[in-house]
Symmetry: D3
């Protein structure tokens, strides 16, 4: 633990050794964020899988839709703690704080979304996400009805469930390879003057 | 239930309305298999997500590696039953029967992999897959050691875990949208003379 | 696994060595079905227990009542998968397909009864069976009320619960002794022209 | 609760209305024990099922074997509390106290068999019974090996598992019908001078 | 087991070696009850912790309030069995029998409070206690509403939850140190003429 | 949520209305920490219970012993997240960061102690704490042996278990009353220059 802890139990490729498209994507992230989130480098051990991972991620998180960017991060943070995934709770907690400009929200949602400063609509969203995360086989029309009552459309519900499902994959990968969150994430969005 | 049951609770696009690349991919599958597996049509409601889904699927299931094609399907069948996913148990059960030319194996593995006609190495593989599926947060080096003892390499272990993780996503999507397996899958690979 | 796999981890008696009454019963089944289901031979290791087992089985499954023969098999298939019992899922899945003349139904119910082609009344029946199977200590009058609302009588409810309870016994025995389903069961009732 | 509480939520037949064989059996029990345990009267609502129940019970509990009569009752008491079955914990707790002449043992085993005054061999027996009760699908040869190490034979292990399985049935029936233990059971075997 | 079983896996101080205040408290209990409950002697291994324990106990169980003394003991007995705590089920079961003058009630509540001779109000109280015991993170206003409907005030609800929480601590300590209930507790309150 | 969110669903007394001893204690904390942690004010709704709570807390956390102050906080953070207790994860996470001077450690331990930057000895300590938290009824001598192998004494083990048990109480109280962590805790110990 003294020197630099490994960010994965698998080999981590050097940026210079990556295929051009992945290197460019990663450099663009680095320029915007100031560092390279470890998810890129650790999953780059398998470039084809990383490409698919990023395409899926973008299809769910960059699209337009009825869920705000912050709400999508809420889903990730709540379900990732249920799956015991350190990387996703910490990194998406940081993004959630920045999007919502609420420095306390990520920790609240991670530990117990029922006690978090969220609206009743968001509470219903997170209850459904937790069901997709933990007991998806029990989902039926009554779950849809509960969300419709809060104004969610069927497309919104697909978004909630698909984000949960995608991070179900991500959480399991991170747990399996011991993906370590960058130190930078822990503090991001916590101090008012901090820049995202 | 009388006429034709829905294959998804979401709208299912007509093949003709799909983007060119997806239509071609689907037609190719249809030509090879004789029908279009419902996963293609039901997930095509969101073309970008389907593209990413297929890219991830191919990266894990078409690649070379230490796991045979049949073993990869074993992982899918065992973990999909643990997640209560009808579509994946039935469709990948069919593929498993065909790959392994063992008409009983898929049902054995779905209900209880510990009682299935598999080798001790495959039993260890499936035990690990079930842990990734159900308790990935508890994975540590002792799990790697147990698999190494059966001759699995670290890359094989990544394969086992990544396939499990990817179908964790797939299972949750199928459960959420009520994806219905094609009738054809139920019988495929069960009768000696049946062609895949 | 190459030659003939054991059908039990306990000694299996030869038909000729069985007491007269059990041998006659078994021969009658063989004549009707075309083979001897392994449950008879494996449990015949303990003749007194087998006699009681068969008497209980007959009292529940051969009696008149508000549940159709197919519905009784639905209960067995759903709860046996919850208990991870390969023998009962496969053998009673075969019987269910034959009774209901629906080749897909058994697999649907085994993996996830909520996604199966059953009526709302049957869904309620299976929900109750799963509660008796997994959390019988929580049953109270509200469970009876839910079933009454679907037209079930108290006697029907006894049938649902008693069949579930009896196969709770059967599942545990089969899991303990490694009871192997006959190969014949896997295909029965799947092909339209197949005769039971 | 003031007058006489029901002993079942189903009709309870009068002794006089029972078939001859069951009435005689029940009268014999009454003569020996001093009262009619409610299990007889409540299950007599279905005479055929009661006959099979008693035959099974006798085949497991009256037979010779490597388990003492007290040890068989230990299995029942431990697993019945795990299933939340009031009737079986109380009635078989009474029988256990009488057989073992240890007034504290039944309560110890019901709440936590790991803290009970039992031998290491009995602790292993109860650990296995709890696995058959709660996770029978996970049983494999390693469980047999653990019991062999304590001197149990395969036949003893069948006894342990079969008793657990049979009371798994019994517990579910009792929970479903609200079977009430006779008041007499609560005190039996607790006071040194008390006669069984 | 033959001679005197240990009452704790930790050293148990002699009464004479205890600080004055604890010795006096314990002697007072002994005078009233006729023996020293083992909880006093076993926890006296850490006098400061025992003092705090007793102060907490008294604050919850000796105070005035909407819950009767018997109802407080019901909570302890039900939740202690859920936690597998032998000491608390047995010792507080004894106290419950004495307070309520119902020799059957403690065993009923320990095994399955849903089948016990309690009022609907007490059933709701115990349902809430079990939720605080097993899933406190899920408590929200709907739980309060359910209890208000039975006439419980917010202060009563604090009492229910706080007693459950305190015995959650007590149960874990007793399980960890192997605290053994005094033999006397097992019979107390069971025989009409028995004096508490 | 807009103005000032409640820190408890119960009335919160004014400092001025508190008994002298509690007011002094709280003022001392305020002077040292710079604010009054909400646990003091919210539990002060019941002064006798708060006094016992503080006495217990001090007996466990201020005493000498083999566990460092930071290790005691690790136990609290890990088990409080398992119990879904927002107040304790956030407030003790702050204290842990300060004691250990490791700004990342609390979040690591809360989400998944197996992935945290702790020593093997601390990992064993936290594994045991999680068992006391979640399955204390299963503790036996093998758990003690595992901790002895890491150099823990029996007294250290009592400390681990007692801290876990005490916060099991605290977590349930906080969940029940909706105890809200002070905003200050979220940032404490995260920024190098930040003063505790």
């Amino acid at each position: 633990m003294s020197t630099t802890p490994a960010i994965s139990r698998y080999p981590v490729p050097a940026l210079a050794d990556l295929p051009e498209d992945l290197r460019e994507r990663i450099l663009a992230v680095q320029e915007k964020t100031g560092f390279v989130p470890n998810v890129f480098l650790t999953l780059a051990h398998r470039p084809d899988e990383l490409r698919a991972f990023l395409a899926y991620h973008d299809a769910l998180l960059l699209k337009e839709g009825g869920l705000s960017k912050g709400e999508r991060e809420m889903i990730i943070v709540a379900t990732s703690n249920a799956n015991g995934c350190l990387y996703c709770v910490v990194s998406h907690g940081a993004i959630l704080r920045i999007y919502e400009k609420k420095p306390l929200l990520a920790d609240q949602i991670a530990v117990n979304h029922r006690k978090a400063d969220v609206t009743p609509r968001q509470r219903a969203m997170l209850d459904f996400a937790m069901k997709v995360c933990l007991r998806s086989q029990e989902i039926d029309e009554s779950d849809y009805a509960a969300l419709h009552a809060h104004g969610f459309t069927d497309e919104d519900i697909w978004d909630i469930g698909a984000i949960t499902a995608f991070f179900g994959l991500s959480n399991r990968m991170a747990n399996m390879i011991g993906m370590r969150p960058n130190d930078e994430f822990f503090l991001m969005g916590r101090v008012p003057r901090a820049k995202a």
